[in-house]
Symmetry: C2
Subunit: 328 residues, 2 copies
């Protein structure tokens, strides 16, 4: 049965009772035909669809169903990183891709702030001693005046810099091009020169999208060049860090501690050597996921959909070649 | 043998090789006779002494040796809290007491900031799961917009308020007198009304000195009135919190988590029920002790001693009746 309304297909995770759909879709029903599907039905759902909302934001199902995308004009992804869903035909197509830029900036920056302070105050060491019933006074470090290097100059990296600066941390960044006048970072070094500059930092924070340039960027050479006892924080993508080299740098120095929210394989495999280490704080890809995040992601899509239905261009448009939303 | 120089006695902890003295005392030797003693020799050391420097800042040896204090005019304590060393005869005497106000403000405020963020992001839960090899995504909380109640309006409480405000936490305080126009806190409630107001706060932070008014202040009534899941942080003195009521409030609610750096008995006894709990982060009275703290404490005394030797009044004078340095 033909519909005169534009078609919005929503790819949902398979939930307990069918598709686990975002809140508020009903508010679009007078202006669009809404199809909620799970991954195995995506091809059917894409036929004739104008818009695809990837509510199941880790899915890579789109490339498998791409042959059915006969009318698609726009894909919105409920995530900041779009690396998992980009593929050559999509990149070459006219389909616009937008993402969830903005939703995760502050929560992730707070997670990084917490990691920086928790490391300085050795909360992991205190929790370990508490478990074992050990009372042991130690000297800890001051946060103010310590130095952080933020790898990645996107919105999340900028929020991290703002929050760390607010508590007296000195910040510089690494990005595609070196410059000295960045409004948020001041000094930005070129990522290709990372090994030459990383030794200045007490805290090395990966906030870069996963692209060909950032895959493996924090490898053996960079990890060997960090300051003695330095702290690596990864809230970007696991594939940007060479995990074997990371373990080696923890075991044999110079790295002192790692706080990791993302991994090359997720969930982290049971035999991964990162489990159980006292010098690692790991969490389950959740640094940006504060109470209300799903509602915020749904609302952000609905806002963007209303713009699109009004004939306006959607916001947060990804540069598909680069793999992220360029700074405007 | 009589000396024409003023006598400065330094009470030191017993170290591996005799007394464990502060750095830089030699710089006073042309202007004062310096005696370094340990607790058992304090009475001998106090005879004829003009100045006592309590480098062993947890010592309560002064009251035992007080009978020998025949010339004493000034005691400097290398600590922020002076509760351990105040006693009736000292309070009634003309002896001036000064403390280490200023040295610990920022390090302790950073510890509190770390505790606030670590709780919001459930780092303790992540470390526990990591130890057990459990990958489990959870939703965490946003720090910005949460509410902190700082009990104690001294220099440390003010630094805590400043730092928490810098990351978007809403702060109010409890102090001796209620007011609405405090420059750092805005609203200050009267500590006697704590139970009526504590329920507004996500984070309840004790930064009060130990005085008759604050001993047991955070007892069963207050702990029963905190918000569901609230977080208690104690960096003041252990005796301000009723530890049995604290355990009860953790076990049966409403308290969600406690970060504790101070305890009624220190070291915390091996059979204390706080050990081993997943909903407590405890540390060994070290929240202010960052690398360089001993040097900073020694330098602060030397600066004050030079003022005193120059005939100027020393700074950081404790109101002995109140038990802390009043705000100027």
């Amino acid at each position: 049965m033909a519909s005169s309304l534009p078609v919005v297909t929503v790819l949902c995770p398979a939930g307990v009772d069918g598709a686990d759909a975002p809140a508020g879709l009903d508010t679009l029903r007078d202006r669009a035909e809404i199809r909620t599907v799970v991954a195995e039905d995506l091809a059917d759902g894409l036929r004739g669809a104008d818009v695809l909302f990837l509510w199941d934001f880790f899915s890579s199902a789109v490339s498998d169903a791409w042959h059915a995308a006969d009318a698609l004009r726009w894909i919105h992804v409920a995530a900041a990183g779009v690396d998992k869903m980009l593929f050559d035909e999509l990149i070459a197509s006219e389909v616009v891709v937008t993402n969830a830029q903005g939703i995760f900036d502050r929560p992730i920056a707070e997670y990084v702030l917490g990691a920086v302070v928790a490391r300085a105050k050795d909360f992991a060491g205190s929790l370990s001693r508490q478990r074992d019933g050990v009372w042991e006074h130690r000297e800890t470090r001051q946060v103010r005046g310590s130095i952080a290097l933020v790898i990645g100059t996107g919105a999340i990296g900028r929020e991290i810099a703002t929050l760390l600066r607010a508590v007296g941390v000195e910040v510089f960044a690494a990005g595609r091009t070196a410059r000295d006048d960045d409004p948020d970072f001041g000094t930005v070094i070129a990522s290709e020169d990372l090994a030459a500059h990383v030794g200045r930092a007490d805290h090395v924070i990966n906030a870069a999208p996963l692209t060909p340039q950032t895959r493996g960027l924090i490898g053996a050479e960079v990890l060997a060049a960090v300051a003695d006892g330095a702290h690596l924080i990864n809230i970007g993508r696991g594939e940007s860090v060479d995990e074997a080299a990371l373990v080696e740098a923890l075991d044999s120095g110079p790295l002192g501690f790692a706080t990791l929210d993302v991994f090359a394989a997720e969930p982290l495999p049971a035999d991964a050597p990162l489990w159980g280490r006292e010098d690692v704080l790991l969490s389950a890809h959740m640094s940006g996921d504060v109470v209300g995040w799903r509602e915020a992601l749904a609302e952000q899509f609905l806002d963007n959909a209303r713009r699109w239905l009004d004939g306006e261009p959607p916001v947060n448009v990804v540069d598909k070649e680069r793999g992220y939303v360029p700074r405007t």
